[in-house]
């Protein structure tokens, strides 16, 4: 892995060429145009994790002090008491599920904020519609073609001199990334290469044939995408990825989320110009057999927590550049259902982790869980619009400032959770 000092010593382009087996086209072009683009400049990176399936915010971060909760959830109620699951008390009102304990230090250190009662003003309880609205950033407009993260990338105003500006560690491009700005979906960095049954020499020859064909085609769009593909492939020297060693003492869970975050860490440390990264986490739709301190939700929360904690520790010197934010399309019912679980609700909670976050607090406008305060008599109502959090984090961390473009049709106020 090329380190920054070595790079400085031997001079940019030469080392680049030596390390990557040829100067990637876009570097040469940038040099030609004398664009002010420093290949190894540290970028601010916003990492988003979408928990698909509707995470139960009321169990992840429980308002245990509310007397209504126990009545609503006779067998799913948890609190700091040993007999009730040994939750970790946060502020006398909310407590953290024990499976999330690896995130607790970030909370006490003031690096991590929790926002509760957050969600969408659109009360659809359809997973797919709600995800669509949250990712497009326009909860009442299905016709919005772009995703909010694609718009955010566009607003950073940096020259798109790298194919890695917006990267999603998923097989398909997520809705959040739809739009005019370049975005890349790679489910596995190690596979980001021409793959063929045959010898490495033959594969390399085939790759070169492809590269030439795409270089010569008269179709502008195929020509451009082809160049970027091969530039990206050259930058991602798969051997470096295969041999990657996380920072001392860091163990990523061997789970899809753990792997995704590890690869995001690799991309961050490779200084490839990434500004937005995206990962997904599934299995949150706990209608049946949710469990409490032990069980389906607890397992998911543990993987979630340990993956994020490992990621943060692995970042080491890059922590200042990164802010991580989680989100889920809606929450779950305040009451438990007849099969040991919870059904689709409204508000949930989310986590924001970063050195420029005013952490150590559970931001919320939650009244109570009395029936009169529940939406439709069943759900924790949305008292914080998700856009007020997304815009605050994106604006604060990526230093952009155009909410009209980022969240058209909103016109609301940002939540004050980032340090000035």
């Amino acid at each position: 892995m090329i380190n920054r000092r070595g790079f400085m010593k031997s001079g940019a382009l030469a080392l680049f060429a030596a390390g990557f087996g040829g100067v990637p086209g876009f570097v040469a072009r940038a040099a030609d145009n004398r664009k002010i683009w420093a290949p190894y400049k540290k970028n601010k990176v916003l990492v988003c994790i979408f928990q698909r399936g509707a995470m139960d915010g009321l169990m992840a971060v429980s308002p245990y002090a509310d007397p209504n909760l126990k009545l609503l959830r006779p067998s799913l109620f948890m609190s700091p008491a040993k007999t009730e699951g040994s939750m970790t008390d946060l502020d006398g009102r909310f407590a953290l599920h024990p499976s999330l304990n690896s995130l607790h230090p970030f909370f006490t250190e003031g690096r991590m904020a929790i926002v509760h009662g957050v969600g969408s003003p659109n009360n659809t309880r359809s997973h797919f519609d709600a995800q669509d609205y949250m990712e497009s950033g326009t909860p009442f407009n299905k016709g919005m073609a772009s995703g909010w993260l694609n718009r955010a990338v566009g607003l950073t105003g940096h020259d798109a001199a790298t194919p890695f500006r917006a990267v999603s560690l998923t097989s398909a491009l997520p809705r959040s990334f739809y739009g005019d700005n370049e975005a890349l979906a790679i489910s596995n960095l190690q596979d980001f290469a021409i793959q063929m049954r045959g010898t490495p020499v033959a594969t390399h020859a085939v790759a070169q044939s492809f590269e030439q064909l795409y270089d010569q085609t008269s179709s502008e769009i195929l020509n451009k995408a082809g160049k970027e593909s091969f530039d990206a492939m050259k930058m991602l020297n798969v051997n470096n990825i295969r041999n990657y060693q996380p920072a001392q003492g860091v163990m990523y869970p061997a789970s899809p989320l753990g792997n995704a975050l590890k690869q995001i860490a690799i991309l961050i440390k490779m200084d490839v110009g990434m500004e937005v990264a995206f990962a997904e986490s599934g299995g949150w739709d706990t209608h049946y057999n949710q469990g409490t301190a032990i069980g389906a939700l607890a397992n998911n929360l543990r993987d979630f927590s340990n993956s994020i904690a490992a990621f943060w520790q692995d970042l080491a010197a890059y922590q200042d550049e990164v802010t991580l934010m989680t989100m889920t399309e809606f929450g779950r019912t305040a009451y438990q259902n007849g099969t040991g679980g919870t059904d689709h609700g409204r508000a949930s909670c989310l986590f924001v982790l970063g050195n420029d976050v005013a952490g150590g607090k559970v931001y919320n406008n939650i009244k109570s869980l009395a029936k009169a305060d529940l939406e439709d008599g069943r759900d924790l109502p949305v008292s914080t619009d998700f856009r007020s959090v997304f815009s605050a984090v994106a604006n604060g961390h990526l230093k952009i400032n155009d909410d009209k473009t980022l969240f058209p049709e909103w016109g609301g106020k940002e939540l004050n959770l980032m340090k000035a």
Partner: protein
């Protein structure tokens, strides 16, 4: 609705039907095919190649020459008639057993997980406690066994057959234009397997509402989709309710009277008979009260299906159309559901008397319909229009000039280029209007236009992943024994067909399909396909290249690998991404 009024409506309706039929016969005949490709400097071979590349899923080896010798006009006419025998497809679909089922059978055999759990609990085959203690895999296996024992089948079987048949028909169908248009119109009237409530209906939706109409009349297709359970569920019209309804008010009064009667009976003789039934009725009433108007379908039918987003409708129009379409619901088919029990008890006669309309799997529920007067696109619809009102509105939308333009533009986008010339679109829109939405007429008008044959339009479009995969199969005469594997690659390349969440359907723009990641996947697809690394793909490249001496020599030298790699490169090459 009294007899006199009914007679009037019927009479008006009958007159309108006669008039429109008259209109159709005098204007709906299609223009003669007269393709001006010589004018744009193309020879017949180039023209045939272009025709095949746009109106089929890709030429098979030697097909360009076949079309030239047959005559381009004749080939196109054949494709427009779409009645060539499909022996290959039928052979490959042998053993598929969900493709001919009706909705009732499907709904009662292929349950979604939620329904399955409820049924099994009802039948005491599982209890809530056993659910709590089982681990996830154990739990799934147990469910599966119980499901099979109880006579149900898994939803995945239904989905797999739907996906596979699309691939088989596109790759091996003789009526290629029909397959291309089924893909196009399904996408236009998109529904998605991602939505639980409608997934069971998608098989029949494509088979009955879309496919038979793709080369027919636009309004017929629009109405077929508007009445199909898949669309009614997908865009939530099934649960859209109005409380501005006479029947509902009467029902509430009846319940009020019944309640008082029962209370009196209980007070006087401590008699509680009838209370359970009463509670059921109240439950249904309250459930209905909690629901409200849902504008989703009303908006999309105008924005996406007919007028287009700039078609000149307002938000008020959306609300009014939503009001008009209240009551348009899927007929209850699920035997274990309350809805079916209620309609069974009510009976056809009583429902008809109250203004309900039951047509196949469609049920117009008069007691959910907003009876008030409405104004839509400047036209006044008087109160109590009932079911006919909805039909008139669909007719108005289907024959509106904005619709003609919108549909013409979409077809031109699909078959000509991503930014079609205004003159061409206008010409096609005129054909649409003059023939009251005859799709063939619009297509012929398009093919008779020089813009279709413009050298700039040649190979200008980029194939979708599905089109790439099918064209690769056709170009190599490949034998696909596991169609699902092809679907898996389409997913990898970015097109999980049948699963596009939004009603807009997959965008038809090169920029949507081509990005850094997806292009790499296309190249890798080419290689995996050609080297038979995809399970179930059988190629005979030697047979294809019999006439090519270089290839023959290469094979003689045992260099199969090289041939496969070259084929792979060809499939992944930029030129093969274009059509």
């Amino acid at each position: 609705m009294n007899l006199k009024r009914m007679a009037k409506t019927f009479a008006v309706g009958a007159v309108m039907t006669v008039l429109s039929a008259f209109a159709q016969t005098s204007h709906s005949s299609e223009p003669r095919i007269k393709m001006p490709y010589k004018k744009t400097g193309l020879d017949s071979r180039q023209a045939a190649a272009h025709l095949l590349s746009r109106f089929s899923f890709g030429a098979t080896p030697g097909q360009v020459d076949e079309v030239v010798s047959m005559g381009l006009d004749k080939w196109l006419k054949q494709q427009l008639n779409a009645d060539l025998p499909d022996d290959e497809v039928n052979k490959r679909l042998e053993g598929y057993n969900t493709l001919d089922l009706d909705n009732s059978t499907i709904v009662n055999t292929y349950l979604n997980p939620g329904q399955l759990i409820r049924v099994l609990i009802m039948q005491h085959l599982i209890d809530k406690d056993s659910l709590q203690s089982a681990g996830r895999k154990e739990y799934q296996d147990k469910l599966h066994t119980l499901m099979v024992q109880a006579g149900y089948k898994p939803m995945q079987d239904l989905q797999r057959e739907l996906i596979n048949q699309k691939i088989i028909r596109a790759a091996y169908g003789q009526n290629q234009l029909k397959e291309v248009l089924t893909d196009f119109w399904f996408n236009h009237f998109n529904v998605s397997l991602t939505k639980n409530q409608c997934e069971q209906y998608i098989q029949t939706y494509e088979r009955d509402a879309i496919r038979p109409n793709v080369l027919g009349n636009f309004e017929t297709m629009l109405v077929a989709t508007a009445k199909h359970p898949a669309m009614l569920e997908y865009l939530d019209n099934a649960s859209s309710v109005s409380n501005n309804n006479e029947l509902v008010r009467k029902q509430e009064n009846n319940i009020q009277q019944l309640r008082s009667k029962l209370q009196l009976r209980k007070m006087n003789n401590n008699d509680t008979t009838g209370e359970a039934g009463m509670r059921l009725m109240e439950q249904v009433m309250n459930a209905q009260k909690r629901q409200g108007l849902n504008e989703n379908y009303a908006r999309e039918i105008m924005e996406l299906h007919t007028l287009g987003v700039d078609g000149g409708y307002t938000q008020k129009d959306v609300t009014e159309v939503a009001r008009a379409l209240t009551g348009w619901t899927p007929a209850p088919l699920y035997n274990n559901g309350i809805a079916k029990k209620i309609t069974d008890i009510a009976g056809e006669e009583r429902m008809k008397k109250q203004g309900f309309v039951h047509e196949g799997d469609f049920l117009f529920r008069a007691n959910r319909h907003d009876q008030g007067e409405k104004t839509i696109l400047g036209r006044r619809f008087p109160a109590n229009g009932g079911y006919q009102e909805g039909m008139e509105i669909l007719h108005m939308l289907a024959t509106h000039p904005s619709t003609a333009k919108f549909i013409a533009a979409k077809l031109a986008n699909r078959f000509v280029c991503d930014t079609p010339a205004t003159a061409l679109v206008n010409r096609m829109a005129d054909a649409f209007l003059q023939t009251n939405g005859n799709i063939k007429a619009v297509l012929i008008t398009m093919v008779n236009s020089p813009e279709f044959w413009d050298q700039k339009a040649l190979r200008e479009k980029v194939k979708s992943p599905f089109e790439l995969a099918i064209s690769a199969i056709r170009a190599t005469n490949a034998d696909i024994q596991q169609p699902f594997q092809i679907y898996a690659w389409c997913m990898k390349m970015g097109q999980r067909f049948y699963f596009y969440q939004a009603p807009t359907g997959f965008p038809d723009k090169a920029g949507y399909w081509i990005n850094t990641g997806s292009l790499l996947n296309r190249m890798n697809f080419g290689l995996a396909f050609a080297t038979e690394k995809i399970p179930g793909v059988k190629l005979n490249l030697a047979a294809l290249n019999k006439k090519n001496n270089n290839f023959t020599l290469a094979y003689a030298a045992g260099n199969n690998a090289m041939i496969s790699q070259v084929t792979g490169i060809l499939i992944g090459s930029p030129e093969f991404q274009r059509k």
